[in-house]
Symmetry: C2
Subunit: 259 residues, 2 copies
């Protein structure tokens, strides 16, 4: 979820986690006010019909390696990462027992993993950590390793709202094997394999530098990026990740071209 997720998206997460039978764990480690943020999400998920919701405070790496923490996660049907600073998630959770366990639980299909804003950004293998300068340039974006739940994509969030295409183009020009996936606010991708579906009120912008005919990235100054592809995909569209192509579905009346 690209930030500012509304009840439809959060409700979908609750539903996927089992609705009244759901046992959801909220991890607000990214937040500057983790206690308040954790409580707020607990209440929202409860209001949306989740059976049991628990905010799990993971402030230090010791918390993320504690046996009690693993026991809580093993009982969960859904784990949700809130927004904040994605680098805090890496600093506290990277390489800990929680990190390893979550990968195992997701891999076995025993847990639905969700996240918004920083909690979405951290899911890719290469994570955007910052950069808000105008222009497409190597120094317009900073990246680092994410927690690697989603291979081969680079997620950016608050995408249209913060005008972040420059930094996503800068990132894929440097790393053209990664698909740039820019998620608007109150918008999400739902994935369980080699494709994702777009949900929510905004759009997902996919930038694919794989087909580019020329890429030149000087250490500073403008980048050359010729022949990249771009897809703007609102709710209902599906994107195949390894095929690098969208499936936009048959035309529907409300989607007919405006006169």
């Amino acid at each position: 979820m690209g930030g500012a997720a509304g009840p439809a998206l959060l409700g979908r997460f609750v539903e996927l986690a089992g609705a009244a039978a759901a046992r959801i764990v909220v991890i607000a480690t990214a937040s500057e006010s983790p206690e308040a943020t954790g409580t707020a999400y607990r209440e929202r998920f409860e209001d949306l019909g989740a059976g049991v919701v628990r905010a799990l405070p993971l402030a230090r790496r010791a918390d993320a390696n504690a046996p009690e923490t693993a026991a809580v996660l093993r009982e969960a049907t859904g784990v949700f990462f809130t927004g904040g600073d994605q680098e805090r998630i890496i600093a506290v959770l990277g390489g800990t027992a929680v990190d390893t366990l979550l990968h195992a639980l997701v891999g076995e299909g025993r847990v639905v993993l969700g996240g918004t804003s920083a909690g979405a950004a951290m899911m890719s293998a290469t994570m955007i950590t910052g950069g808000d300068r105008p222009g497409v340039a190597a120094d317009s974006v900073r990246t680092g390793p994410g927690l690697e739940f989603l291979p081969c994509v680079l997620i950016d969030q608050h995408f249209a709202e913060r005008g972040r295409l420059n930094r996503l183009l800068s990132a894929v020009a440097r790393y053209p094997h990664e698909l740039g996936v820019g998620i608007d606010e109150d918008t999400a991708i739902l994935t369980g394999g080699d494709s994702f579906e777009v949900l929510g009120n905004g759009a997902v912008t996919v930038v694919d530098a794989g087909a580019a005919t020329d890429i030149r990235v000087p250490p500073s100054g403008p980048i050359v990026l010729a022949g990249a592809r771009i897809h703007v995909l609102p709710a209902g569209c599906t994107f195949h990740l390894t095929g690098r192509r969208p499936v936009t579905g048959p035309p529907s009346p409300e989607r007919e071209r405006a006169a």
Copy 2:
């Protein structure tokens, strides 16, 4: 020029207009303070070595139809349109003797036509007149007719600085026959035929919806735009307009990919 043009770009215009032999006419009709803007550009062009520079006040359509105005333009080797509100250029000049005469002079190669910001926007046949909402949607951009000096393109300006890719994508999704050309500040395209060259410190972003595999533009709400192409082209790159393809030139040492 995409706004905020520095001495290198303005100097190139002076040079193309004949340098010491140049007779440049500045039209500041777009500006809210046309007298001050006209004087400022006159002084800048003079400082850059232009032979004769004159700011031509065209505040009303009567001015643009006056025989004295035509006489001044017939002597010019360069005509420069300043920034401001592109719709004011259309309202005052559209269909007047100045409009007709400038097309004739440009067509005969007797005058170099330049413009920055609004003065660049008005050169295309379809002109972006506004729209700064986030998201790619039909109502994220407003367009109207420009003065049609450049066919088949849709120019946007202050492009990276104001994060305008959303509105350029919105425009080409509606009008996929037009190439979207987003020009950064202190950056320009130089064209005299079926291609343009990029000049200046920023980049030109070309968005091409011609190759899109699916486009759906509802009257409101998000657009589907699948398979569009995007090119980010800094100085030295050339773009072929009817071929819809960039020529980025041979690699040069300073353009090698950063380590």
